[in-house]
């Protein structure tokens, strides 16, 4: 049986892992390669590296980082942040990433998802969505772009469905409202998206306690749970998370 995945997320800025609250107030959390290797040893199923600066200079740094991680970490990892072209995706995959996530570029050019899927297969095309609860429409969420700084009129559920048709193989769904709060995932959001698509959905934003992971899987229907603050700052290790889930009947690779 396919297991549910535990995925630590490493937001990278100037070659350091950082973590903020609601995308603001960043705190240093360590060296990305060391932290990646530690999570892999603890039993993480996958890793996500997000280049949160996403400038031309940082792009070169992130390729070097991917190469270093790939020499030391033998679990799959996704890289994202500012990726705009199929050539950039190719470079990252060739450097050792298993998957690449796109966000803003897919909103401005949805065809990027189709092009990438036809060349690399949809299993390595991850659509990242930064979702914010709509103030005007209850039970709806807006897609935000440019690292969450710019809200759009696009509805999250509709965008997720369209992305699946275009060729996205997975959705990394971050609740901006919950991110970094440690108050639990937005499972209404997770459920709305997992009910609407047939590709795997990674729930992200808000993990603060072990039962939050369980709820994202059971209530939210998530195939995988992503977390940052609770692992980086030592609240729980990956092994504890997996034991907790296993004891509550969730299949995990332990």
């Amino acid at each position: 049986m396919l297991t549910r995945r535990i995925i630590p997320c490493l937001d990278v800025k100037d070659n350091r892992v950082v973590k903020g609250v609601n995308f603001l107030n960043l705190r240093d959390a360590g060296d990305p390669v060391e932290l990646g290797a530690r999570y892999s040893d603890e039993g993480a199923d996958e890793l996500v590296f997000l280049d949160i600066t996403a400038t031309i200079r940082s792009r070169k740094t992130i390729v070097e980082l991917v190469e270093k991680v790939a020499e030391n970490v033998f679990i799959p990892f996704t890289v994202g942040g500012g990726i705009q072209t199929v050539e950039q995706i190719d470079e990252l995959l060739r450097s050792g990433a298993e998957k690449v996530s796109v966000n803003t570029a897919a909103v401005s050019n949805p065809n990027l998802l189709a092009e990438a899927a036809q060349r690399f297969g949809n299993q390595c095309v991850v659509l990242a969505i930064d979702a914010r609860r709509s103030k005007d429409r209850k039970g709806h969420w807006q897609v935000c772009i440019k690292a969450g700084s710019e809200p759009t009129d696009i509805d999250v559920v509709e965008w997720a469905q369209r992305a699946e048709e275009l060729g996205a193989g997975e959705i990394l769904l971050t609740s901006m409202d919950a991110d970094g709060t440690k108050a639990g995932y937005d499972n209404e959001l997770n459920k709305a998206v997992t009910d609407a698509v047939n590709i795997p959905v990674i729930a992200s934003g808000g993990a603060g306690a072990l039962d939050h992971l369980f709820d994202a899987i059971v209530e939210g229907g998530a195939d995988a749970v992503l977390m940052a603050s609770i692992t980086h700052f030592g609240n729980y290790n990956i092994h504890q998370m997996k034991e907790y889930l296993r004891d509550r009947g969730i299949p995990v690779n332990l």
Binding site: S40, E67, P200
Partner: protein
């Protein structure tokens, strides 16, 4: 020396990294003479099937030739799917035809791609899984799967609402649908086993 075929698709470097981490000699190449001199060949692959077949181009014939002469060959993911006769991923494409059977979409009614860690049960006598007990989790990421029709092939399955072929072995030809280079210690052991198979075959 193992040769990992370099044909402009993703993740080739990770496969080399994993062999090196194991202390195994490996080189990334598409040179026919290097391929012919190798103790074993790895055909990796993160790509769509059609793209991969086109990217492989004339090297396909070299790989086929050495495999039919008995050199150990390991196909990974799309490289594994290419061992079969055809695939229907984004159009109908021909594979190497080293193992009879075809590559088809995973049937609807479950989350697709089949992505993540799934349990593979090993039948008796599959050399790739030596030292790993009777079952192990490996990392999968695919939307298409192979349906071998070869009666000589040994097959290991994983369960995903149906039996999915996780690994095939026919004489010197080996294939894994999962990614050993991304499957932590268990995956590294599979690659080490393949290296040992190659060493044995060449001595």
């Amino acid at each position: 020396m193992i040769v990992v075929i370099d044909y402009n698709v993703g993740n080739v470097k990770s496969v080399c990294n994993a062999f090196r981490y194991n202390g195994c000699e490996v080189v990334l190449s598409k040179d026919p003479q290097t391929i012919k001199n190798a103790t074993g060949i790895v055909l990796p692959g993160v790509a769509a099937f059609g793209y991969a077949v086109n990217a492989l181009g004339p090297i396909a014939e070299v790989v086929k030739e050495v495999a039919l002469q008995g050199k150990p060959l390991l196909g990974i993911c799309v490289g594994y799917q290419m061992l079969f006769e055809t695939s229907t991923e984004y159009g109908l494409h021909k594979g190497l035809g080293l193992i009879s059977g075809n590559v088809v979409p995973i049937p609807e009614g479950r989350v697709i791609p089949h992505m993540g860690w799934n349990l593979v049960k090993f039948p008796e006598g599959m050399d790739l899984f030596e030292g790993l007990g009777s079952e192990k989790h490996f990392y999968f990421a695919h939307s298409f799967h192979a349906q071998p029709s070869d009666t000589q092939a040994k097959i290991a399955y994983t369960e995903y609402g149906m039996d999915i072929v996780a690994s095939v072995q026919k004489n010197n030809i080996y294939g894994v649908q999962f990614h050993p280079e991304k499957s932590s210690h268990g995956g590294l052991q599979v690659l080490k086993n393949f290296y040992n198979i190659c060493q044995k075959a060449s001595s």
